[in-house]
Symmetry: C2
Subunit: 334 residues, 2 copies
């Protein structure tokens, strides 16, 4: 490891408290916070009498490579993917708890950049949401486990199971852009099996956008509560690929979803329909609405029909895309 100035110590040479204080100094107060970090637990106001909670973890190896993701990128992505699950219930994110496991030789500046990424992601995508707690442990590999909390503001949570035949299927967000970015990383920024830093300047503007969305996704969080207000019957975050996630929504609702190929083509990044159906990590919102009067930001991509054999059809034919299982796909790509 390259030498670093003394004011950028290794995490292993600091106490947990010192590192947590350095992180928390970089985070903004959350608007729902009654008691912030620093005690045994935080206390959040839940004026609507309910709290929405979800957890998701990024692990070095299966979920990211340090050659490709900066500390800022990782903080941003860990926040974004968790905030997206809250929005997908129709709720507004209110707080994050962040558990970090980091190698002892990690520089403090890297952890500070992660804190910056988390803060900026919240500020841009979920204003008022911030880190209220967490912990730090030393580990042989880097891992970021986040729990996100949210408030429904009196809305009824929009689950995956409420879609009904006749509903319109709509999407907010992008399709295939994050997978395109992943394809660039694996295709262009490896030396043999070893990831090397991405030379962003070597990419054209569309490729740069794909790379950026892979590293720092921008899920349309504000549209989750709007969809709930507009009467969405079912909604979910598209994290593992449209075909796979739609099949989950269809199974939970006991319906079949019939996608329009032309509608997907119009939304698909680079016009790649296969990647639009199979590519993961876009974190768009897939929702069903009882009327074709869709809220702004949602585009019609299909129709809910009575359950037939297959959960998901494309212009009436079964979809064979298996989607994105980060578990297997990425590991096999190592």
């Amino acid at each position: 490891m390259a030498s670093a100035p003394n004011d950028d110590p290794h995490i292993g040479d600091l106490s947990e408290g010192a590192v947590l204080r350095a992180i928390l100094a970089r985070t903004a107060p959350a608007s729902h916070t009654l008691l912030g970090p620093g005690d045994d637990a935080a206390v959040l106001a839940t004026p609507s009498g309910a709290v929405v909670a979800s957890a998701d973890t990024l692990v070095e190896g299966p979920d990211f490579r340090l050659a490709w993701s900066s500390g800022y990128d990782l903080g941003w992505k860990a926040a974004a993917v968790n905030l997206s699950d809250i929005a997908a219930m129709g709720a507004v994110p209110t707080a994050l708890l962040v558990s970090l496991a980091v190698p002892a030789d990690t520089r403090l500046s890297f952890i500070e950049a992660m804190a910056d990424g988390i803060r900026e992601c919240c500020a841009q995508l979920a204003p008022g949401c911030s880190v209220v707690g967490g912990d730090l442990t030393v580990s042989e590999l880097l891992l970021i486990a986040v729990t996100a909390l949210g408030d429904l503001g009196g809305r009824v949570a929009v689950t995956r199971s409420g879609a009904r035949a006749g509903d319109i299927v709509a999407l907010a967000g992008e399709l295939g852009v994050a997978a395109a970015g992943l394809g660039l990383l694996f295709g262009r920024f490896r030396r043999g099996a070893v990831p090397v830093p991405a030379d962003r300047a070597s990419l054209d503007p569309l490729q740069q956008r794909a790379l950026d969305r892979q590293l720092r996704p921008e899920p349309p969080l504000r549209l989750g509560p709007l969809a709930a207000d507009a009467g969405a019957t079912a909604m979910m975050d598209v994290s593992d690929g449209l075909a796979l996630d739609a099949s989950r929504l269809a199974d939970a609702s006991d319906v079949t979803i019939d996608f329009s190929g032309s509608a997907l083509d119009a939304l698909a990044f680079g016009g790649d329909r296969g990647r639009a159906l199979g590519g993961g990590e876009d974190h768009g919102l897939l929702a069903a609405f009882p009327s074709s009067d869709l809220p702004a930001g949602f585009t019609r991509i299909g129709t809910v029909i009575p359950r037939s054999g297959a959960p998901v059809l494309l212009d009436g034919d079964p979809v064979t895309e298996t989607g994105w299982d980060p578990y297997r796909d990425w590991d096999h790509a190592r």
Copy 2:
């Protein structure tokens, strides 16, 4: 790894969904759950208009060794240490979110045993609390990141910062027993530097109890809300050793805590005052009360006095115990 029957597959050969379903089939519903696991997020009732939240992680290596801890032990401990942080605010635990990172060759039965340990810990120590969400990733080492949520039931959260000169300092729970158990593991159940399974039958009953409390702590969770009701001015979970944690409470409250040596000796496991002051992981509740009329389960161990130079005294003299920093202590013991 020993061969196992086909009905005990490796985690790496299963989908995340299949493993999560197997885990969730073993957990009980939480009494505050409006929407349980299986959607993008869970929804919990918070009738008092606030939610208490805390996160803590156990990492293989710094926090546990698989030769010493069973899956059941790990699940129990991961739950217990998190539930304790909620109780230390004066709240009742309502839900856990559990993020697991596990090696691909982990057996499903090990994960199921972890789920059993979490469920039984909740059932015995925090009835009504259960797992409402979480996620699973493949990792090169085993890690359990838990977020605990709780409800204050209208109580004001008891922080670390409210202790006042003249208050009585009291403890609920044990002192030094978990450290005694850790000492047994490091002293008797290693071959060189390599941990070997603990032969419990080779230990006397007191030693067995120390081992059990190290592996499966039993924090006095019900006494947290009772202490709040009794007017506790400050409270915290003693996880890193009494001396270190008391210094944190004293610093936060800008007071000094003067412990009674004879009171500590009476509570110290095996009569070991040094271990009682320095040993971690007992997860007792340290609290300050404005009156000597203490709630049942709390024992007087000292007095709050105006801030002098040192945060913590023992019979009037500064305490030199540095306490337990799992970060440093355990790593150096590798």
